[in-house]
Symmetry: C2
Subunit: 333 residues, 2 copies
Amino acid sequence: MSNLDLSYDIVGIGNAIVDIISHENDDFLSRHRLVKNSMSLVDEQTALAIYSEMHPAIQTSGGSAANTMAGISLLGASSGYIGKVKDDELGKFFVHDIEAVGVDHLVTPIPSGLPTARSMVLVTPDGERTMNTYLGASSTLFAEDIDPEIIAAADYLYCEGYIWDVETTKQVIRLAMSIAKESNKKVSFTLSDTFCVERHHQEWLELIAGPIDILFGNEAEFLTLSGCPSLERAIDWIRGQVEIACITEGSKGSTIVTEDQIIKIEAHLVEKVTDSTGAGDLYASGFLYGLIKQFDLQTCGTVGSLVAAEVISHTGARPQSSLNDLVSSTLNL
Amino acid sequence: MSNLDLSYDIVGIGNAIVDIISHENDDFLSRHRLVKNSMSLVDEQTALAIYSEMHPAIQTSGGSAANTMAGISLLGASSGYIGKVKDDELGKFFVHDIEAVGVDHLVTPIPSGLPTARSMVLVTPDGERTMNTYLGASSTLFAEDIDPEIIAAADYLYCEGYIWDVETTKQVIRLAMSIAKESNKKVSFTLSDTFCVERHHQEWLELIAGPIDILFGNEAEFLTLSGCPSLERAIDWIRGQVEIACITEGSKGSTIVTEDQIIKIEAHLVEKVTDSTGAGDLYASGFLYGLIKQFDLQTCGTVGSLVAAEVISHTGARPQSSLNDLVSSTLNL
């Protein structure tokens, strides 16, 4: 932890993961019966089995909410991150990277126990990523790991749907959400993954009717959540259930839905999608940064598109350019 | 180790290193008094101190001779690699990556002792890389780690100058060279780094007069080694001392020197030098692959330029494209 500041613009909670990324052909996915563009939870043995067949990989810090907090910090807002690693090589790497971009890592790494989480990320020639995640230490986040004062003081709380997969970590998010709401702060949430939506469908419908103010997800996730046959119907369905819903639609852009507005945002085009890992996470960075800066919703979405475009143009889910310069020069802010 | 084959086209020996690469500005180098484009040996504390100030990094397998062997294997020749890691996270990562491209890793990782070597690689906006290497486990390579039969059976031996920095590993190279020579095999060597040349100047002059058949180095290294004021003079100096000398000159290409020929090879131009790490290593891959395939020297150099161009166009010192396809399509082989 460094420079603990009790009033962050935003605090994020999620699984603290190091991504092990390689470029593989589609037949790698078929051989392992993996569903493209989804996240599967795997045990350590399966993770190793997949790894053993992967091409040479690069390791970069990942974790959905951590990527989002990194983006927000690089854009210039203050952020803290709650997610647990072990004090092993991968854990040190994760902590280094998140603090190097100015995010305060708010949970002490554990000295023993499960190893730091890792995700085997397979990027196919179309740029889509398919993830196989071993949760390890990130599944050992408990209520005592969060400081209620920090959550209460932050203007926004951001929670990742992925973390719902472990009963104990789910309780941590529920607790954090209730602290934020009691302090009249905004709660934002990302649906994370279609299968994740399926696994937690009923509970998430309740969250949406309850504490969630701002909801992120892609088209497929919103369709799964709503049970609607089309995006138009899903938009009608979510409208008014949350204050703001952001639906990302890949190269088709995104749609921002509020009780009285439907705003269409164009995608910021890139020459080639090298690796889509982190696209949704960084869209959320840009959008939430816009809200923090009190931009209008159209501009929030445009910043989201812009930083998402940066992250899909290279391998890895963390920005490699100065996002602040990128946004300033493009939007003339 | 996998698929042990006793007659490799080439066997390489070097420090087995994982690169931790970040993009930094020139003032980072000044602040730490680092000489651009050089390799400094650092202790674990200094490595950590530099790391703590680095931007978010990516980890990729590196090590000069290991990069060269990876390139040769990807081009389609058979290779083995001698370099020691610990059986820790970084060591497992290193072994995975070298075997994933088809190189046999010929040294069992150590279960305890010093951690796997890592190099903090700082890439500046001009694409130059400055390395800070903690040798760790790679400095514990001993004579009993090499199998004389494997060295004797390989058509080529490739040795990295960097490994000369540790007295015991130096003895391993000397032993390997003598085995290769006794079996009438070719010995190739890379000068690695200007400071490395300075540190081992006298001994390397003796090696050149002795077992080395094929010598690689860049312009600065050849100038330091020869003590000549110009490349032309250095070319005259090395001529006839070794069977083939390859002098790389960055964007100016390379020069191949034999007793009766001086062949100028143009650089294969890239749009942008993203990260020069591995340029020399991969030039050696291409050149040695050409020799193995009995191409003429001009073609050997051209293949070297081509694969060097691939590796400088992205971050990290290992190829990310199919080198075989690249070479076939460019040279119509």
